[in-house]
């Protein structure tokens, strides 16, 4: 349809009253009334600390770095979720191997203190049974073992010791120095 040829009436602007009358007051009295949030809405994510293994898959997928793995000075690994930077794309949910991350409809996130927006899971680190260095997380080790039990011998070793051990094993088998 084209409005160009539409007949205009002089008092047509009064129709606004009709429109207003028919539609009534549409305002949602939120916060006193239910908000207009559909069940499909993507809100804040909720990380189940009983399932999280600290693998960092979500950290790699997260476009804005709202999820970060932080190595503290004492060797602890923590997964930090900063709601203030989250874009609520839920890519982390897609990639989480253990299903620890769940989406919620939560949007009431306003605060007057920025520290409220941090959600931190501190994982107990794995301790290398040879050099005693702290690395990765215990949960991660357990998870790897359940997925592929063959690596059990190496799971308690930090990456350097693991490599050394591996090279040594090859050395023993072939009787010569490798690498």
């Amino acid at each position: 349809m084209s409005l160009k040829d539409m007949r205009r009436s002089r008092l047509g602007f009064l129709r606004a009253l009709v429109i207003a009358g028919r539609s009534g007051r549409v305002t949602r009295r939120y916060p006193y009334e239910e908000p207009l949030v559909t069940s499909d809405f993507r809100g804040k994510i909720d990380i189940d600390e009983t399932k999280c293994i600290g693998c960092g898959a979500c950290v790699n997928a997260c476009p804005p770095n709202a999820l970060e793995l932080i190595n503290t000075r004492d060797g602890y690994v923590s997964l930090r979720y900063f709601v203030g930077r989250c874009i609520f794309c839920w890519r982390c949910i897609d990639v989480c191997p253990t299903g620890a991350i769940k989406g919620t409809r939560e949007f009431e996130l306003a605060t007057n203190d920025i520290s409220d927006l941090y959600d931190i899971i501190v994982h107990e680190p794995n301790r290398c049974r040879e050099c005693g260095k702290l690395f990765s997380t215990k949960r991660m080790g357990d998870y790897v073992v359940t997925k592929s039990p063959l690596v059990e011998n190496y799971v308690d070793l930090d990456p350097d010791c693991r490599r050394n051990r591996f090279l040594k094993a090859i050395e023993n088998r072939f009787g010569g120095r490798v690498g």
């Binding site: 939120y30 609520f88 409220d116 931190i120």
Partner: protein, 159 residues
Amino acid sequence: MGKPKFLGKSIWVFHLNTGSCNGCDIEVLDVLTPYHDAERFGVKLVVSPRHADAALLTGPITLESLPKVLRAIEAMPRPRIIIALGSCACGGNIWHSSYSVIGGVPELLKILKERGIEVDGVYYVPGCPVRPESIVYAVGLIKGLVPKKIKPKVKKVGR
């Protein structure tokens, strides 16, 4: 300066887009429209920082807009508050580390402090983009109508 009695009843907002994608800015307008109607809480968008009680910042604050933001905040009469709207303003969003932005209101506060520009309160409203309801909730929080729901969580987990 005593605690203003009527600030809670009438919040005049000056909206500054500091490099936002427009998503939050449109939701700011949306909040004034019939379904959400922030005016019922006495919220009004004003057009001059001199009339404003609150600076509504959207965007990660680009270098280009930084001087104007500082100037606008300086022009606001005290008491003045800053509302950081959206993930960009709260934490810098995807561009938090980009070369042409300062990375959100936490960084801005440092610069404000350096220059001796005081503000009387900062509110953070995450969301990308912020839902209109989130903004209404934030208004409720400023007015003290709703409790703060989000708390920092630190959980230590073992094996």
